[in-house]
Symmetry: C2
Subunit: 221 residues, 2 copies
DNA sequence: TCGGTGCCTTCTGCATACAATCGCAGAGCG
DNA sequence: CGCTCTGCGATTGTATGCAGAAGGCACCGA
């Protein structure tokens, strides 16, 4: 087993992502320690890292609060994702690996196999395939910092759940773009791959903003 | 006074930046605690954050090691800076503030006043003005995540000290670009401001790579 | 002489204890 | 009636102690 603080970090991050701790809610150290069966020390170290990565905000002498995301935050995150994902995509297209390309096409097929995604389970599968597709590109880029930055940008709840706002047509467009990117990467075409990725992320941004018209979006959504 | 762990974090980060702790060197908790006059607990929390930000690498049961930067790391960092600094620059040009623009021009003049920067002290002044210029743009962008990401990208020793590689002509070019960006921001021209910033960072990358031809660059340089 | 094994030292990982701080409630006062 | 100030409870901040892992070194055997 890994260190206790690392385990705590992973558990807390997952819970922050899936909405167990609503945006803005306070996280008390002792309570978390009891829940995870460790002492406050590793919890505090996990909280420091989550703070550094933007998952929560630690106020001295007041404690940790799950991050809240304003509309501006969302826009910024999508903009940064557009920049960084496109960069990663271009890098991946410069030196595609056989296993990486295979993984990309596998993710494409896994997603397409569920279409039309009428049931909730099918949506989950499509969403998982989507995450795998993007993560594969991050890996293929070979850019460690880009990967870790995207890891902290692309996982917040509202991004992960954006798929809920996708209708049938948008899902198909998204999957088609995935396939287009996979082909561009396989054929070593960085500018095409990057351009499609930019369009892909921008489309997601538009859908999200249209679905969440105003104000701050807590985890209540 | 702020919390001990925050103070420790700032002190350690400064020392990592200025080379007090050479790249690859091990940082022992008890030693740091003694140096900073605190116990190991706040030191550990500071180390966790420095790890998350890429300043050092913490290996379980082995301790913390000051980060080492390969040539690939350097290239990636400059590439990311080019993306993010240009983004910040565009954002700043969309809503320039009077005080921000004034600060930009002030930084320009502070740098130009030292030219030709023959003495070491003059170089320091130019370097400080350079840092202030960039940080002002980050602030003006109003993008919190962009700012914090750039904060972790633009400070590593080899970036900060890149000025040492600038000759007279490059310094003048750099200062001229600063003035061009300030003007573009003041006149609300995002695409010009962003393009100049991209060129500015790319030029720095080229100079750095030319000066450090190969291999990993520890703090020995 | 070389490889392996077991001890030993050192340092990190975690738990616990104590100190400091903050927010809040209620009393006292204007 | 409203304001302020103080005391208390709760929670975070820091220090310390102990257990366990990693690496080094000596000793032993081949």
């Amino acid at each position: 087993m890994a260190t206790a603080w690392e385990q705590s970090y992973l558990t807390l991050r997952r819970r922050l992502a899936d909405g167990t701790y609503p945006a803005g809610s306070r996280l008390r150290e002792e309570e978390l320690a009891a829940q995870l069966g460790v002492s406050r020390t590793p919890i505090r170290e996990a909280l420091r890292r989550l703070d550094a990565e933007g998952w929560l905000r630690v106020v001295p002498n007041q404690g940790a609060f799950a991050a809240e995301w304003s509309r501006q935050d969302i826009e910024e995150i999508f903009d940064l994702r557009a920049l960084l994902e496109a960069h990663a995509c271009e890098q991946a297209a410069m030196r595609p690996t056989a296993t990486g390309v295979a993984a990309l096409f596998a993710a494409c097929e896994a997603g397409e196999a569920c279409m039309p995604a009428s049931t909730l389970a099918a949506m989950e599968t499509v969403s998982d395939a989507n995450v795998r597709f993007h993560q594969t590109i991050w890996e293929m880029s070979g850019q460690a910092r880009t990967r870790s930055m995207l890891g902290t940008l692309a996982v917040p709840p509202m991004i992960l759940r954006n798929f809920r706002h996708f209708d049938e047509a948008n899902l198909r467009r998204s999957l088609a773009q995935h396939r287009e990117m996979a082909a561009a990467i396989a054929s070593r075409n960085p500018s095409l791959a990057g351009a499609v990725m930019r369009a892909h992320v921008e489309a997601g941004k538009a859908i999200f903003l249209a679905a969440a018209p105003q104000g701050t979006t807590g985890a209540a959504t």
